[in-house]
Amino acid sequence: MYKPSVVSVVKQSVHSMKSKRSSSIVRKYGLVLVLLAAIVFLSLFSDAFLTLDNIMNVLRQVSINGILAVGMTLVILTAGIDLSIGSVMAVAAVIAASIVHVNPGLTIVAVIAGMIAGGLLSSVSGTMTAKLSVAPFIATLAIMTVARGIALIYTNGRPIVIEAPSFLFLGQGSIGPVPFPVIVFAVICALVAILLNKTKFGRYVYAIGGNENATKISGINVAKVKILVYIVNGFLAGLAGVLLASRISSGQPNSGLGYELDAIAAVVIGGTSLFGGVGTITGTIVGVLIIGVINNGLNLLDVSSYYQQIVKGLIIAGAVILDQRSKR
């Protein structure tokens, strides 16, 4: 539900002038700026930063949060939110782990099983939201606790060790210099970007977020679209969970704790409105990268844990404020 504030009216006008594509660049301009600034700064102050090795390192680190953030973008564009993805990840992780634990050959099966589990859980959130008009926050909060419980019961609170090499490749392997998760992330971005910009479904996602009733009255099955959005998000959360399990070579019932917050943060930093209807995948990608680069950079500069938090907070705030300015 989008509320034009006196300033936003002015902001909007920026877009009106530009073509959709370039306007979304203007939108991100401030952020891209921040990202570049951060990169330049870091490459000046830490010679470890701008090495192929470290760049791949950062990309590997962001790819899981990236996949989550892309899914979350869809949900937030419909003016929804999904708190459950962290727990959904855990469920997917332990299910996949248990499969390859028993039968190391079944990597594909494990991945699919994990994703389906995610999709199922999220379809419940989606249905509660779309059909029973439960606030997404609550619906997904409920699923968040339930899913966590499921993961703990399924494993009886014990991590499941993974040894299957083919499965471990997903999170730890590389194709050439590029880590596999990064490739997955890139593919997901491409697919979802196309989904949003080129398909009816994408249009409906934006329309629902912008004005749900107008969309209904235009004859669109809003409930269906919403539920699909949550399912897609669940799939991606499941995928992320599987990758995480592979990355840490164990399916942990309490993995993914708090991941939802990072994902949402990336999306919102990327300029997507929590009131729905406005936002892009490119924005989200920039958001994800900013967070990733900050985390990596602060470690490379060896900033102490305490001060890392302060610096992180300030940079995020600064980034968004600068972004706002650039939209004026």
């Binding site: 909007q12 073509s19 912008g210 009733n213 107008a214 409105s273």
Partner: protein, 500 residues
């Protein structure tokens, strides 16, 4: 001028390259009703929004009661005694009528900051009586019809006892009855010497109450004239830039078999046994007073609201309409009266809004065909000129009238069998109206059945083949084209009983 109250000089405003105002002059005198006229997108609202601090001008200065006036926010504007009825209705749906009217100046107990609710409701009740509105101050605004919301805005603005009152299309959703009430109030204010800026696209009104007229065209100042010195056609020529031959280009169309038939449709305490049909090639006008329930009937037919009893037939086949999608599938389209709530996705582009209801036709199952989408939009903007910087401009940055055009375009694009228009020309300028009337007439000629709800009687009289009159949720009467006068329609609508 001695009795000059307000002077705006060389006002310019560009929204990122697009000039909404170019060095505009505007002068208002004590106790006059000053009409501000111009096509959609001419810059009227923007000029007034500058005066109320919602928009900051790029250049120009403002003199108010002899003193230069720096206005940076609505607060300062109100503090200087400038009140405005905004074109875009802006109520707070979840709050009561009383809270909405007195927002920001609630009566307190002393200076404690505690709201004196009894007094609040009493004062509101008095105001509502003054405007002959039978409404409970405790009703939540979200329960009101568009017309009622608009009356509310009027009541609120007037109650500020401002030194300058701006009315930006106050009557766009009102019917005769309320318009009369408004004019009485305006008269009273004039006597008190309160100057009023009056923006409207209903020319008759201008000639009824305006003293002077200032015309803008494409953001430029054209002229300021005393109303007596103007004829309707002259005024139109000034606004549009060219003379406008025939405003109501209704051609006789071949009227075929009934397409939409409604049999004693009822919904408890909203409307009861509504019965009518509309034939292919026919334009059916529906007149009525505010609260007559016209919108409600159409909402029910379109599947937005449920109804208790009755039958709807399309092409003679009983239709089961539970949600808008069903109605649309049957070839019905509804242009709702409330463009902000139900018509538009404000934060999205003109293109996305226009094609939202037609994407199935414009896509191969999944992917949208960009070219045919743009083609479809261009065709619509060819029929109805929308003043915009491009198909990608966000709808919320369009002028009010142009927003309305986008809603129309969205539904016309579907080429429905039955087109229902609820206040289709709300806030649309004469030129554009003429365009739309021509379009309606063409569509009718091509066999479309059109239902037009309107509170603007000239429009009803000018365009309809047949006229239904509704009141208190019932059909009060039916007239054929040219066999009835405005007075008769009003008679019928009021039907002795009071207005809801």
């Amino acid at each position: 001028m001695a009795d000059s109250v307000l002077e705006m000089r060389h006002i310019s405003k560009a929204f990122h390259g697009v000039h909404a105002l170019k060095g505009v002059h505007f002068e208002v005198r004590r106790g006059e009703v000053h009409a501000l006229m111009g096509e959609n997108g001419a810059g009227k609202s923007t000029l007034m929004r500058i005066l109320t601090g919602l928009v900051q001008p790029d250049e120009g200065d403002i003199v108010f009661y002899g003193r230069p006036l720096p206005i940076d926010s609505p607060q300062t504007a109100l503090r200087h005694g400038i009140a405005m009825i905004h074109q875009e209705l802006n109520p707070i749906p979840e709050m009561t009528i009383a809270e909405n009217i007195f927002l920001g100046r609630e009566p307190e107990y002393g200076k404690t900051g505690f709201v004196n609710k009894p007094l609040l409701f009493r004062q509101t009740a008095e105001l509502l009586d003054e405007f002959r509105l039978k409404l409970d101050p405790r009703t939540k605004v979200k329960q009101l019809s568009v017309a009622q919301k608009q009356m509310l805005e009027i009541v609120k603005a007037v109650s500020y006892n401002a030194r300058l009152l701006i009315m930006d299309e106050p009557t766009s959703a009102l019917s005769e009855e309320e318009v009369q009430t408004l004019f009485h109030t305006i008269e009273k204010l004039k006597q008190r010497g309160v100057p009023i800026v009056y923006i409207s696209h209903r020319l008759e009104e201008i000639f009824k109450i305006a003293d002077r007229v200032t015309v803008l065209r494409d953001g430029e100042y054209i002229s300021t004239t005393r109303i007596e010195a103007l004829s309707k056609d002259e005024l139109i020529t000034m606004m549009v830039g060219r003379p406008l031959s025939n405003i109501f280009p209704k051609e006789a169309a071949k009227i075929g078999k009934p397409i939409l038939e409604v049999e004693n449709l009822s919904r408890s305490n909203v409307f009861s046994d509504i019965q009518f049909n509309v034939r292919s090639g026919e334009i059916l006008g529906i007149a009525g007073l505010m609260g007559a329930g016209r919108s409600e009937v159409m909402r029910a037919i379109f599947g937005i609201d449920r109804f208790d009893a009755g039958e709807i037939r399309v092409d003679g086949i009983p239709a089961h309409i539970r949600k808008p999608a069903d109605a649309i599938r049957l070839g019905i389209a509804l242009v709702t009266e409330d463009r902000k709530e139900l018509g538009l996705v404000l934060c999205r582009s003109v293109k996305e809004n226009m094609t939202l209801a037609s994407l199935n036709a414009l896509s191969n199952g999944l992917f949208i065909n960009r070219l045919s989408e743009i083609a479809a939009c261009s065709k619509m903007t060819g029929d109805i000129t929308v003043k915009m910087s491009g198909l990608d401009q966000t709808v919320q940055s369009l002028s009010g009238g142009n927003q309305q055009k986008v809603v129309l375009a969205k539904w016309l694009m579907r080429k429905p069998k039955v087109l229902i228009l609820d206040e289709p020309t709300r806030g649309i300028d004469v030129g554009a109206k003429a365009e739309i009337y021509r379009l309606m007439s063409d569509l009718a000629r091509d066999g479309m059945a059109i239902i037009m709800i309107s509170s603007e009687l000239p429009e009803i009289m000018g365009m309809s083949d047949r006229i239904l009159v509704m009141g208190e949720g019932r059909i009060k009467g039916e007239f054929m084209r040219g066999q009835v006068t405005q007075e008769e329609i009003l008679e019928c609508a009021i039907g002795g009983a009071g207005i809801v």
